[in-house]
Amino acid sequence: MSSPIVVIAQQAMREASRRRTLPALVIFGCGIILSSAFLSFFQLGVEIKFFKDIAMTVIFLFGTVATLVIVSTQLSGEIESRTIYNVLSKPIRRWELVVGKFAGAAVAIGLAIAPMVAILTFFIYTDHGGSELEAVKGAYLLWLAFTVLSAVALGIASVATSTVTAALTILVFVVSYLKGAVTTYLDLISAHPVVAYFGQALYYLLPNFENFNTRTAVVHDELVPWAYLGRTTLYAAALVCLFLYVGIQLFEEREF
């Protein structure tokens, strides 16, 4: 007898796999990475760097789109299509529904980027272009970023429509990259302690997706310590718990 979370997670994965968008994204992403492996731009040695850059960027971009496609309709889509009545009338708790959706999305996204990662590591191996393990680490960290993004989206989806969810999630994603510029600007305009504290608060409390960016290490064959992986996993777990908790509390109060 499976837990409701597992049942819902498996259902979410099934839904993701049966959407036409997701397989198309995976095929398209793999196609771009494969084609870049056979394009020769420079003298030997730089090709593999270029290929790794393209591959990591494709994994990032397509993984982000896949995350938005999968998650923005998981909860809000269920509410908008009114299938929520059938689910919530069953003996499951609302938090189990949210956590199950998250778990399913996380696994689905991992499976979606797995083929692209496999192609990347294959060509690194055949071209002796660095460490396959570092590439896998880099991909794992990207997957962590996608799980955080999923949690953000689910948190928003507990109260918003699917369109608003997608838009706000993208906004949070973009703001997390822009906050570097914002904190630099704050440092420039004022040395006041309050401004400094505000800048610090922005840095520590908003999601920092740069933590999951080890493209440099993958492309330039630098080592990512296992301890970094562990700590970043903790960071991702903390963010996921935060956004899911807020989302669950809002979802508990919601009326259908």
């Binding site: 270029f50 850059d53 960027t57 971009l61 822009l178 630099t184 960016n213 493209r215 970094y228 903390a238």
Partner: protein, 232 residues
């Protein structure tokens, strides 16, 4: 306290606790940032920060595509030759600057930029500044050390700094050829600086590289001859 108030208090406490976990784990991650993240330990101008922020995770790939353009300029110039395409030279530098903002580990861009500032634009001060920035961001790169050493030696006549860089390059050499090249540089810099003994020491180190014994002997002989010539 009513049940509703208690629930609100519990929720608020939980959110604060989770935010503390987020902040705490970020601090843990920061301890390893220097080892991993390309922006750790690198100082960016405000403009660089803004550009990097807007491009986010794709900045590395953007740097690669800009390098395509740079490579095109570079090869077209070689084909045509001379400075007929001065415009290309001038167009190339902003691209190189942008590339290094986007990817501080793009050593080819630093190397090319430093070279062109020194050789084509005759701006050795800007060249070494560019090289030094590249070395700060990529402390283990051989080419940047030797490139900077050349400029300090030939243009700025700063033999002390040139020697330090060439010596560092010798320590970073990946193979015998690179070790020879860097020690060759040390020897010539020391000779130019009037330090014949230093030059000879460098040539002797060349002799310790397998297969470079003859080169070492020739180098010592030339150094001694030039040293005697100067004395005379």
């Amino acid at each position: 306290m009513t049940a509703d108030s208690l629930l609100r208090l519990r929720r608020a406490t939980a959110v604060v606790a989770l935010l503390a976990c987020v902040a705490g784990s970020q601090a843990l991650v920061d301890q390893y940032r220097l080892a991993v993240n390309d922006e750790a330990g690198v100082t960016f101008s405000v403009a660089a920060v803004v550009v990097r922020s807007f491009l986010g995770e794709v900045r590395g790939l953007a740097a690669d595509f800009l390098w395509l353009r740079v490579d095109e300029y570079q090869h077209r110039r070689r084909i045509i030759g001379g400075s007929l395409l001065q415009q290309d030279d001038e167009a190339l530098m902003p691209l190189v600057r942008l590339i290094t903002w986007l990817d501080p580990h793009f050593v080819d861009a630093y190397a090319l930029g430093g070279q062109w500032l020194a050789f084509h634009f005759s701006h050795p001060q800007q060249a070494v500044a560019f090289y030094e920035e590249g070395i700060r961001n990529n402390p283990n790169d051989f080419d940047l050390h030797t490139g900077a050493a050349w400029v300090y030696w030939r243009w700025l006549h700063n033999y002390g700094r040139a020697t330090v860089l060439a010596r560092d390059a010798a320590g970073l050499a990946g193979d015998d050829l690179e070790r020879f090249q860097s020690l060759w540089l040390v020897a010539h810099i020391r000779l130019t600086a009037g330090d014949t003994a230093g030059a000879i020491r460098a040539w002797r180190e060349v002799g310790q590289i397998p297969g470079y014994d003859q080169a070492s002997k020739s180098g010592i002989a030339r150094t001694l001859a030039q040293g005697r010539g100067k004395a005379q």
